[in-house]
Symmetry: C2
């Protein structure tokens, strides 16, 4: 049992780890980098890499490698990663895949399959360059490497799209649904590969049984289990104190799912993830439960876990530049290519497809977790582990800038030319989303010779799929119109604000109705990106609200968009 | 390190423990019993008492007594109890003590000192009847026993007062401020007693140093530390993503406080508790942070911890009826007496004082924690531990019924006789708390020959101390008036609802202004209890809102109050 000494060290190490990890995580976000970068660096600073070199005694005092405190930290880390995957699963919204349809599915398939097979081939053909050590099964090594490259980090991708204001565009939806598909299939493939490892703990099942159980668990949880949870949830809400009942219900299921998948011979996190998907999918799950679990896990457990990864390995002595560059090269090229080919296959324009490719490259936290499990299982050694971590971080950091670069190259600056006093409603009369869309469509359809009714139907159908409030008081209802010659933008101001279900919850004051020709697939994206960029400055909305004429408004837009 | 086998058992045991603990905890609450009762029973069912007797292999498989899984559960339990005390500390509002003033302080002092010395004397005089085993220091044993009896559970007391609708009465404030004082001094005394134990872990300090450090830590944290945290909090909020920054800040401080107090030779939970008081006291701490930490700890960590207590001991084989009855007898008699004497000393009526005494008896979770630490330290043996747990639970269960019994004995049913059409405002014109109080006071002061201005001042001063919205749409502004002959109640209905800062956030629709004579101290309490009981039925408010005349209203009250 833990003695007073162990308890002191336990709380001291947790306090220090959490403090440094969260501090550097916040710092990373200040510079628009993923928080996990700062959290990993915290571990690097406190672990063998820095503190372990400068003051080895202090580092080992705080984070011993053996003994009860090592086990205590290991326990907390095990709990943390299962909860992290539970939350990651809860963020997966399966319905988006069905709603979004074919394009997303194609991007998802190509974005997974192409990187997977390129990385698999590379690992089989040039294992030396990838740091494969002798004694490891070549196929197993190649499979792990392929998964570490081809998996993607849904939360990171979603965050980047939101930051760029592209989350609610058609392109954003394609990327998100592809990433969800990628996430789920990635973890299933990973689970199957894990089963090939065999189970060292004595309760080893034959591989075929493990794979059968994995697929059966996944299949049942995502169909029957999902429906059962959805039907049981109202009872939990009715007969327990809220939100305690729901909270415990979700965590109990997560723990039991984790135990089950660990028992069948794959990893506990897979069960937690699949349970997360099943629980998070229920429309009965209330927002407060999501928030409590999400915040506690993201801000307490996840930082401790990711900092803990930095504690495990000396990142400096195991940093092998050629290996890092090789892994980075493979990851960048094959992931962009996968997304690009999938998007082209789905009928998107070249520019759009490059953007999709860049959006899909983030390996992020998921790659880190795969790498860590591979390291623990002895499939990879420290140098490749370090290279995978660097790759996971760099791909996440590069995704946003790459997308900006691609969207910028054309430099068409359409917005200033598209806005005109003719297509502007200075004071919208409509009070609802539907009314406003009707009002703005009616203004434009007559002069342009379009059918108001079918246009409203198309815009509304898009709106139903995922509403187009992008936050900062702006909404972008849009549609593609086959027989349109050039893009059309109608600007409308609603002083009362219209609820467009924006992620920041603010009603939309400025509404841009964007109609783009069927043969100009990239136009919508460019206009959306321009508008999002323009309104990132929170002061601009105040300025617009104080204006009296459309000319002032146009002058402001012209001054800003350049 | 944990192998796959250990990880499977870890998640399985956590899932099962949480499920049974929360399920029985909810069940206990259905029967208006504290959740901790159900959580303890869960441990009793799964541990050596029941499952360990029926299926010893299964019980030991799930909850092994040795090995890595025992350490893993111990780690989670250690974390859980520190976080539980952090939250308990955050619920302590020091300012209530200063605001409430002398009566609460007197009840707090008498309610702590009297049970402490009676229990201390009993443990020294009749140690055999209390199960003292040979080899333990008699003074240490007596001190622990005295603390286990005299400590009280603030959250349990607050919950009971809220359930009875007495939280916002003068009596409720006296009890709460006394319980806060009791809580803080109880833990400080406990910390000092712990320091007498000596520290077995090698970093033993001389006792004087430990006590000095304990007092210095407490003093500094509650003064300078508290102010520093209050001043740093806005920076945390300004420069970090919300609510992550605040959340991590609170937990980091809690962990470091726990490490510090464990290091100086007392228990980690004391540091977490004091940090909780300092953090929770800051008005900058936002509600969402409190909710996230509070819910996650109350519904996940606390149930696992309390069920874990049931796992440690065979409650049946160590159940010693004479010992249990002795402990119960001592606890009930000396705790009621302490509260009663304190309340009389503070000038309260006999009936009020008995109510205060009954309100102060809950030993609850705090007594359980003290008992567990004493057991771990070898100060007490299992039979006394079981008796202390039973005592802690029974006192919490008995507190509410006892108070109801005392309040019922007089059976004056004042409300129906006090309400009259003369003192009724069917449609209040006021739109704010202040306006409504003014309006209702003006109605009554003329006919009764009272000074409106001074009356409003008195009611408003009471309102400032703690607003009188009791929830369910009812508010009870009140004052004691020296030269009043009999209690006066003015009823007012506000269809728009007035914000009286009720715990359930609902505006007050029905407002009762309660004025009681200075020489009838019990009157206010009885009227408040009657009103609270009446409006516990949520339908009654709807009925009142549908009424057209005061006569209907009066008929309803008369029909209900009997």
């Amino acid at each position: 049992m833990l003695t007073s000494y162990h308890i002191t060290i336990l709380f001291l190490s947790l306090g220090v780890l959490l403090f440094v990890a969260r501090g550097l995580g916040e710092l990373a976000q200040r510079f628009h980098q993923p928080a996990v970068l700062g959290e990993l660096i915290a571990g690097v600073l406190l672990g063998p890499t820095v503190l372990g070199t400068l003051a080895p005694d202090l580092s080992l005092f705080l984070f011993p490698l053996n003994g009860l405190n090592a086990i205590a930290l290991d326990t907390i880390g095990t709990l943390a990663i299962a909860l992290f995957l539970l939350v990651a699963g809860m963020e997966v919204d399966l319905s988006i895949i069905w709603k979004q349809g074919k394009v997303g599915t194609k991007v998802g398939i190509a974005g997974m399959v192409i990187p997977f097979f390129i990385a698999l081939t590379a690992a089989l053909v040039i294992p030396g360059a990838l740091g494969r050590h002798s004694g490891v099964d070549p196929t197993l090594f190649a499979l792990f490497f392929a998964i570490a490259i081809s998996i993607s980090a849904l939360p990171v991708i979603a965050r980047i799209l939101m930051d760029m204001g592209l989350y609610r565009t058609d392109l954003g939806m394609v990327v998100i649904s592809a990433a969800i598909l990628n996430d789920i299939t990635g973890w299933i493939v990973f689970a199957i590969v894990l089963s090939l490892l065999g189970n060292p703990a004595g309760n080893a099942h034959p591989i075929v049984l493990t794979i059968t159980l994995t697929l059966a668990f996944t299949g049942l949880m995502l169909t029957l289990g999902r429906r059962l949870i959805h039907n049981v949830m109202p009872f939990v809400q009715a007969y327990t104190r809220w939100p305690g009942g729901e909270l415990s219900f979700a965590l109990c299921l997560g723990f039991l799912g984790a135990a089950f998948t660990e028992w069948i011979g794959i990893h506990a996190i897979f069960g937690a993830f699949i349970v997360g998907v099943a629980v998070g999918d229920s429309s009965h799950l209330r927002e407060r439960t999501r928030v409590i679990i999400g915040d506690f896990v993201s801000f307490i457990f996840a930082p401790v876990f990711f900092a803990g990864i930095g504690l495990k390995v000396n990142f400096l002595s195991h940093f092998d530049l050629p290996l890092v560059l090789t892994v980075l090269g493979i990851a960048f090229s094959c992931k962009i290519m996968g997304g690009f080919i999938g998007a082209r296959w789905g009928g998107m324009s070249s520019q759009e497809s490059w953007t999709v490719g860049s959006a899909m490259i983030s390996v992020g936290t998921m790659g880190i977790i795969v790498g860590m499990i591979a390291l623990q299982a002895g499939i990879i050694r420290e140098p490749l582990f370090v290279a995978l971590i660097v790759m996971a971080i760099v791909t996440s950091m590069a995704s946003g800038p790459l997308m900006r670069l691609i969207l910028k190259t054309e430099k068409k600056q359409r917005l200033r030319d598209l806005l005109s006093s003719k297509y502007c409603i200075w004071e919208l009369k409509g009070l609802s989303r539907r009314e406003v869309i009707q009002e703005m469509t009616a203004l434009v359809s007559g002069p342009e010779g379009l059918d108001t009714h079918s246009l409203v139907t198309a815009i509304w159908a898009r709106e139903q799929l995922l509403s187009t409030g992008i936050g900062n008081g702006v909404a972008l209802p849009h549609a593609r119109v086959e027989n349109l010659r050039a893009p059309l933008v109608v600007a409308g101001i609603s002083k009362t604000g219209i609820d467009f279900d924006a992620p920041d919850g603010r009603p939309a004051t400025v509404i841009f109705l964007v109609l783009t020709p069927g043969n100009e697939p990239g136009a919508q994206l460019e206009i959306a990106a321009e508008i999002a960029k323009l309104f990132r400055d929170p002061h601009i909305l105040d300025q617009i609200l104080r204006m009296k004429t459309f000319t002032e408004f146009l002058a402001l837009i012209r001054a800003r968009v350049n």
